[in-house]
């Protein structure tokens, strides 16, 4: 460890550099008028144009990426190689002008809370996967089991992770069998943008009550680059990543690859002693290639990904049993995604996506503690999806309609105790939505404008029975000029979730059939403000979930899912960020107050009106980024309150609240023919001893060193 630190410290003492000034003037491309309050997003923060449509800010290094956006205009992304003055023309949504360049990024959500993060080298330095970034959003809580390769799933507003839709390049990647998306599979090295939508929005269809996470890779406007990233940590993790991008006129080709290996024998504290976690290793290889074309009014991208992962499942840690499991699991996944965006002269936009994916999974349990019989289980899944969305913008109105179809198949072999199952099951599912967003600008200028949105959707599935359900979402958003920059919004939504393959499959054991969909009613109201000096969002939510599927323990660790639960989840989310010294200091804070309550049964049931398990009442996230010349430092604090792990909230079955502090320091410097950055991150700086999930201890203090090279 001492040698490791010494090596890292040497890298830090390099020459500092000077900040560079950028001036951006944003103009309406049709009228040539200045656009006031246009947003310019850079890695260091967010800036807004003034009354003359101009924004000035500084950046520490080049090249740097910026995204320019404004309500009712198409966004644009640029790659700047030097300081200077830039004029950006934005096209109104309703105009019919060819030769546009549009990214897959949306400027914001009119009717709710949302967040977006550009994944840059700093984020890649301080994170092992994107779950760290997601955990900084309000409303979210990452459930994890310890260490680099452990399963990490999101719980949003107290709901289970099956209720959060996870998209990759517009395609839903929630596992068909489990409904989960393992966030540890997604490295920051393989992603360009991460967006989080809180709850359901009347602007877009098919999101769940648990919101939506959207990851994008292979943007059209990314500049050519060669980027190498090397990471090593104190748990003997070593990872290497390579990103190659070549732009050839209107075409691009991008290759990303990453290799991660770690025995992951991290230190933890239990039963009065510091111990070493066994069988938590991870070996992961990922390779992706994306190719695209942007030409006149058409954008096309094809994305291929292969990943191969093997990891240990260390099992729980309990009294007198610290090395519980020698089980290994593995997956091999192939995915193809095709995206196409067509912009017509009439103002119509058509977005089409197609995906095909297949996964093979195995579980090997030599001690047969998790799997009986041969101690091995293999399954495979395949999935084909088609989705299409039409958008049309008139003055003050945006209309859209979308549909999707998905065919998923699960092949499972092997015994499940004595219920011999070798079934192959498949399901056709899909749906459509129609949506309208209206804008009305009041005659009196100070009254500002109001937006109203309405979406109706229908979803169907043909397994286990043919089922069709409807959902609806309505919202209002009001932005009075006399209260500028505040925007007020409210939404009400009705949404459903179909059971996953696993829920259907295991419900049929022990004759428990008839599993149906979960239903949610969500109300949300909030205030948001975005200025050149701060962002603020405060929202109140109230969700009623009915028929929630709960895996109920049965004999000998068998669990059977049932629609037994009614849940009320309500609370407050507060997000604030500020760049008091733009380009130098950026501060962020998120707070969530959550009350996720079981409403099943009556006062005679000890679980009635009690908190759902593993839902903290309070979660606070604070982060600060300080840039001085070539040096940057990042401080992250996250506090999660106490959580119960039994339904009756017995005080004996309660996990204490915990505070995790991560600190990073790094430096940008030229190295041979590259722009390099080196950083040291200390995770769990204060050596907190904590559990996120009972019996799965989290790592004590550990360190990571990252070197990023951008070849010029």
């Amino acid at each position: 460890m001492n040698n490791f630190l010494r090596f890292v410290v040497l890298i830090f003492f390099l020459a500092s550099g000077l900040q560079a000034q950028i001036t951006v003037s944003v103009i309406d491309s049709s009228t040539s008028s200045n656009l006031v309050n246009a947003e310019i997003l850079v890695p260091q923060g967010r800036f807004f144009t003034n009354s003359e449509g101009v924004a000035e800010f500084q950046v520490p290094t080049f090249p740097t990426d910026i995204i320019v956006s404004h309500t009712s205009y198409h966004s644009r992304q640029f790659h700047l190689k030097s300081a200077g003055i830039y004029i950006v023309r934005l096209q109104p949504l309703s105009l019919n002008i060819p030769l546009i360049t549009v990214t897959a990024v949306q400027p914001g959500n009119l009717f709710g809370n949302s967040g977006r993060v550009l994944i840059d080298d700093k984020i890649r330095s301080v994170t092992r996967d994107i779950s760290t970034v997601i955990n900084r959003f309000s409303g979210t809580y990452i459930k994890e089991y310890g260490g680099s390769g452990s399963l990490k799933t999101i719980s949003f507003r107290g709901l289970s992770s099956e209720n959060t839709e996870v998209l990759f390049n517009e395609i839903n990647i929630n596992d068909a069998a489990t409904g989960l998306a393992d966030l540890s599979d997604h490295s920051a090295n393989m992603i360009d943008i991460l967006e989080m939508q809180h709850g359901i929005s009347p602007e877009d269809g098919f999101a769940g009550a648990g919101g939506r996470i959207k990851m994008t890779s292979g943007l059209w406007d990314t500049p050519s680059h060669t980027r190498i990233s090397l990471k090593a940590d104190s748990d003997q993790l070593f990872s290497s990543a390579l990103s190659l991008r070549k732009n050839m006129g209107s075409y691009f080709l991008e290759i990303n690859t990453e290799n991660v290996n770690s025995p992951n024998r991290y230190s933890y504290f239990f039963d009065g002693q510091t111990r070493t976690r066994e069988n938590a290793f991870i070996n992961k290889k990922q390779f992706s290639i994306s190719a695209g074309k942007s030409y006149e009014s058409n954008l096309t991208r094809i994305y291929l990904k292969y990943s191969d992962k093997i990891n240990g499942l260390p099992g729980f840690v309990v009294s007198n049993n610290y090395d519980w499991s020698k089980t290994r699991s593995g997956s091999e996944t192939r995915m193809l995604i095709l995206n196409n965006y067509q912009y017509f002269d009439s103002g119509l936009i058509n977005s089409f996506s197609f995906s095909a994916s297949g996964s093979k999974l195995f579980l090997a349990d030599p001690d047969r503690r998790m799997i009986s019989g041969s101690g091995e289980k293999k399954t495979s899944t395949s999935d084909i999806r088609i989705q299409n969305k039409l958008e049309f913008g008139l003055e003050g109105t945006k209309l859209s309609a979308g549909l999707n179809l998905a065919k998923a198949e699960l092949n499972s072999s092997g015994e499940i105790f004595s219920a011999y199952r070798s079934d192959s099951i498949d399901r056709l599912s899909g749906g459509f939505f129609i949506n309208a967003v209206f804008e009305h600008i009041f005659e009196k200028e100070t009254d500002g404008g109001i937006n109203a949105g309405l979406i109706f959707e229908n979803e169907f599935a043909d397994f286990p029975e043919k089922t069709s359900v409807n959902g609806v979402s309505a919202g209002l958003s009001y932005s009075p000029r006399y209260l500028s920059p505040f925007r007020f919004y409210t939404t009400y939504s009705i949404d459903n979730r179909f059971p996953t393959f696993n829920e259907i499959y295991y419900a049929s054991l022990f004759n428990h059939t008839g599993l149906t969909r979960e239903k949610f009613k969500t109300f949300e109201a909030g205030i948001s403000a975005r200025t050149s000096s701060y962002d603020l969002e405060i929202s109140y939510f109230n969700i009623l979930g009915d028929g929630l599927i709960v895996w109920t323990p049965f004999r000998a660790i068998i669990q059977v899912p049932r629609n037994i639960r009614t849940v009320r989840s309500y609370g407050l989310e507060v997000s604030a960020s500020s760049s008091p010294f733009p380009g130098t200091l950026r501060l962020g804070a998120n707070y969530t107050w959550l009350n996720a309550i079981n409403k099943t049964g009556n006062d005679n049931d000890n679980a009635y009106n009690k908190r759902l398990i593993y839902t903290p009442s309070h979660k606070v996230s604070l982060n600060a980024e300080l840039i001085f010349g070539r040096i940057f430092t990042i401080l992250d604090l996250m506090y999660a309150g106490s959580r119960y792990y039994t339904a009756d909230n017995d005080s004996h079955n309660k996990l204490k609240g915990y505070l995790v502090t991560d600190f990073s320091a790094g430096i940008n410097f030229p190295l041979l023919s590259s722009n390099a950055s080196a950083s040291l991150t200390v995770y769990n700086l204060l050596n907190a001893q904590y559990f996120v999930i009972q019996s799965y201890p989290m790592p004590l203090r550990n360190y990571s060193f990252t070197l990023n090279l951008n070849l010029i």
Partner: protein, 349 residues
């Protein structure tokens, strides 16, 4: 100081949490000892003691007597000899030895990685036998030296165990795939015989009448046809049986009958001719309205009461419900999570 400055807001939240209350410890004279399994993998097994004289139930008696240390994970069985209890704590790979005068631990028998002690029988102050679920073994234990005397191979996933006529009988459940009892010599562990019965034998009941009664739960399909098999402990032959649907499980003897649970409730069997009554004396939904699962069964010969364990929804504290011999409910008391074993205990002065 830095921590205080940065975390002043957090401290406000933390200070709002309420402290844990500590119940008083009860020294038992006569009552019921309930071993609560806890939830698998959560390290929250516990012991409840119900004082018959006062009608008070005290939970977490083990951890309260042992400086807050937990009993362990998935405590599955208990046997009492004298004033000492021996508790098989499956996932903690140990047998906890407890002084029933104080509930303090007298030490453990460490079964080692994968030891998974499932069910046990104590035959003297020095000797006990335990099945090891995941290693497919039965062990003879030296309870004084806290060590293993011998180990023998059983069938797959052994569960129930009992001793009779100088032999150890082990039920090989196979998690539904096996259908044998293995019989061993108590002295040297040599296997004497395998007796074929119904599928998924899990529970063995012994009233020292020359027979043991093996409850076979059957396969976990929609029907769950199992049964009870009467085994002559001298000839090692199944002399009689009765088939029962609904995955029969827990069992115990009253003064005159064998009681067996299934998905419908508690049924009475006449052991002499193995005839079963057509109607349950206690319906399963009376015990557990949520799932109709009776998790434990015992009989108090002093109060003439049938005791049934109600796990509720398996993720909250359960209860024991008391019934008279006609199946009429007479009372209940709260327990810890998943009450799986009930022992009637009377302190000898």
């Amino acid at each position: 100081m830095k921590k205080l400055i940065l975390l002043s807001f957090v401290f406000v939240i933390v200070s709002c949490e309420t402290p844990v209350e500590t119940p008083p410890l009860v020294i038992p004279e006569f009552g019921y000892i309930v071993v609560n399994e806890g939830v698998y993998g959560q390290n929250n097994s516990s012991i409840t003691f119900y004082d018959v004289n006062t009608g008070l139930a005290t939970n977490n008696v083990f951890s309260e007597a042992n400086s807050g240390n937990p009993l362990g994970d998935t405590a599955n069985d208990l046997d009492v000899f004298g004033s000492t209890a021996y508790i098989a704590v499956d996932n903690s790979n140990k047998i906890e030895i407890v002084d029933l005068n104080t509930y303090k631990s007298k030490g453990i028998i460490d079964m080692g990685p994968g030891g998974s002690p499932r069910e046990l029988v104590v035959t003297s102050s020095k000797t006990g036998f335990v099945t090891s679920l995941l290693s497919n073994k039965v062990h003879k234990l030296d309870l004084i030296n806290k060590s293993i005397v011998w180990s023998a191979e059983t069938g797959a996933y052994p569960e129930g165990i009992t001793q009779s006529a100088g032999k150890i009988f082990v039920a090989n459940s196979g998690f539904g795939a096996s259908n044998t009892l293995s019989v061993f010599d108590t002295l040297n562990g040599n296997k004497i015989s395998d007796i074929q019965i119904g599928f998924n034998p899990r529970v063995l009941v012994n009233r020292n009448d020359g027979y043991i009664y093996a409850v076979c739960t059957g396969v976990y399909d929609g029907i769950g046809k199992g049964g009870v098999y009467k085994i002559n402990t001298s000839t090692l032959v199944s002399v009689d049986s009765v088939l029962i649907d609904g995955n029969p499980g827990e069992a115990c003897f009253t003064d005159s009958h064998l009681l067996v649970t299934n998905s419908l409730g508690v049924f009475r069997i006449e052991p002499d001719n193995m005839s079963i009554e057509t109607e349950a004396i206690i319906s399963a939904s009376t015990v557990n309205p949520i799932y109709g699962i009776i998790y434990a069964l015992a009989y108090d010969p002093v109060e003439k009461l049938i005791l049934a364990g109600n796990p509720k929804d398996f993720i909250q504290n359960g209860e024991i419900i008391k019934f008279d011999l006609n199946g009429k409910k007479t009372g209940s008391f709260d327990t810890g999570l998943n009450p799986g074993t009930i022992a009637v205990y009377k302190k000898k002065f």
